[in-house]
Symmetry: C3
Amino acid sequence: MFKAIVSAETLKTALDSVSVLVDECKIHLNEDGISIRAVDPANVGMVDLSLDATAFESYEADGGLIGVNLTRLEDIAGMADSGQLIELELDEETRKLHIQIDGLEYTLALIDPDSIRQEPDIPDLDLPAEVVIEGKDIDRAVKAADMVSDHIALGVDATDDQFYVQAAGDTDDVHLELDEGDLIDLQSGDAESLFSLDYLKDMNKAIANDGEVTMELGEEFPVKLHFEIAEGNGNVTFMLAPRIQSD
Amino acid sequence: MFKAIVSAETLKTALDSVSVLVDECKIHLNEDGISIRAVDPANVGMVDLSLDATAFESYEADGGLIGVNLTRLEDIAGMADSGQLIELELDEETRKLHIQIDGLEYTLALIDPDSIRQEPDIPDLDLPAEVVIEGKDIDRAVKAADMVSDHIALGVDATDDQFYVQAAGDTDDVHLELDEGDLIDLQSGDAESLFSLDYLKDMNKAIANDGEVTMELGEEFPVKLHFEIAEGNGNVTFMLAPRIQSD
Amino acid sequence: MFKAIVSAETLKTALDSVSVLVDECKIHLNEDGISIRAVDPANVGMVDLSLDATAFESYEADGGLIGVNLTRLEDIAGMADSGQLIELELDEETRKLHIQIDGLEYTLALIDPDSIRQEPDIPDLDLPAEVVIEGKDIDRAVKAADMVSDHIALGVDATDDQFYVQAAGDTDDVHLELDEGDLIDLQSGDAESLFSLDYLKDMNKAIANDGEVTMELGEEFPVKLHFEIAEGNGNVTFMLAPRIQSD
């Protein structure tokens, strides 16, 4: 059983954070909210999303699992204005999701969850550095790095208590340093890892410019990005595997 | 003789309703206003437009007929800001239309009306159901249907006094029901016909979201859409032939 | 030595006026400001730009010359918001330009000035007619002419004291006449020359709609366009060679 009403804005924000990595996903319809875990086909980027029942106008579920075409579900949600409500109801028999937006009913055929890539285990890493940063600073760093390279190094310099971003191109370089004054919070510890910019650009799309993001970093380790959605009634964690630093 | 001054907005709105179906058309320069009738090359969609002399700032004509390249005329009108006036004057000798926008003069070569597809006779059908609906509801229905199918069924259920839209895709369906409370007016009568969505999408482009549209429907009959333009000083009728419902 | 701080808006405006003609240019870092002269590969359009030290928040230079990739420099400037300041500092040893925008540092490799097309001598022509015109009127004329032709004639009719623009297409024509009342100023003298519309369209991109442009014209002579940028702390001159009028 699954029946819920949610604002278009909340649903879109939640789906966006998953659709930047995958086109299809499994959605767990837990009693206390929905959750999604997914990994991209190359096993480089992972997402773990939870959207609590409190993020919904009304919510009833008893633990089912559905498979959805995310692109399609986002298109449907996109038909609603931000202020509008979206009603979702699962028809267990037909395995279809009925989606209502102000009288308009869309019947979405679900995908067999077994046909969708397995959900990843997102490891519990003990990373030495943690940075709390504004979304707009991630946006700036990613866009600037994109002008010169396909890769981006994220690091923390424990000596100077600085978070830094570095991208080295063939002729030009981009460098951004943010100290404790520029950051919301910094737990210092030496860390530097190189990442594929394509993935970080995709993840950046799901991060609000005015939001805050907690970033956990290590030495040649994955980066973890945590942020809240739905006014604190939902959480997103991205994890991105590092590239081997050659040179 | 033809000489007229009209606001850019009015001219653009009028031309839009024809250009969604055809690239060239004949314009009747009647004493009491202009009128255009046109049918698309496949004989599926027709338009009948009248723009009264009262829609113009000034208007003089004595019954001529000109052939115009609509795309070109729209581009010219597009150079004017919404508030600006457009002066039109026919040069009978050279068969050119002089178009002035704030000192800028565009001389448009006309097309021989005989070289343009014949104007359709738009039949006077006696259709059992009539719905008066907001433009934005047509917009929603057309966009939602477009997500799942190339066709759209429009119907009236006389038992429930409901207007409905239905689109059936391979896996997903879209359904919209509007009762008397959702509609501006409803004259009930059983009706359902299937239409090509491409045509309805084109016609929808010419319908203002905040305007109201009168829709006449029958059982496997053409649909007629009427709406006013130019603050009531003009009228557009679209007629769209039905598709044969298979299955 | 070169070290300067300038608003993003001023830098972008200045670069735009050069980048419409060339992708790379030499920048003279004079004591009293920067200057750029450039000509397009076909030797048809030239630009002469000066941006005074007073246009900068701070400015120090001692006469150097650098070669830059304009497209790249514009992309970098484009990362700044209009209100933001851009810091520029030349590293003489590495021949790189350090560009800082609110903590973000971009290191731009410079180009050997000798590898860039030679700077043109912009001739001091004594042209018989001069028109001072609003940027938006150039914009209208160029856009209208572009609908019918690849060429545009600019002229002054000394008898009627009118500036005119004429474009003749295969079937349609565009004509714009502006008399002293429509212009900011007119120094009459017979003049008419035909120009490639592509170049004028590019130059038009660098002209603000609400700015004023001084246009010097002759009989089958180049046209010169002068306008101020950076609130009068900079000047741009475009010169465009005429096309031979065939007909």
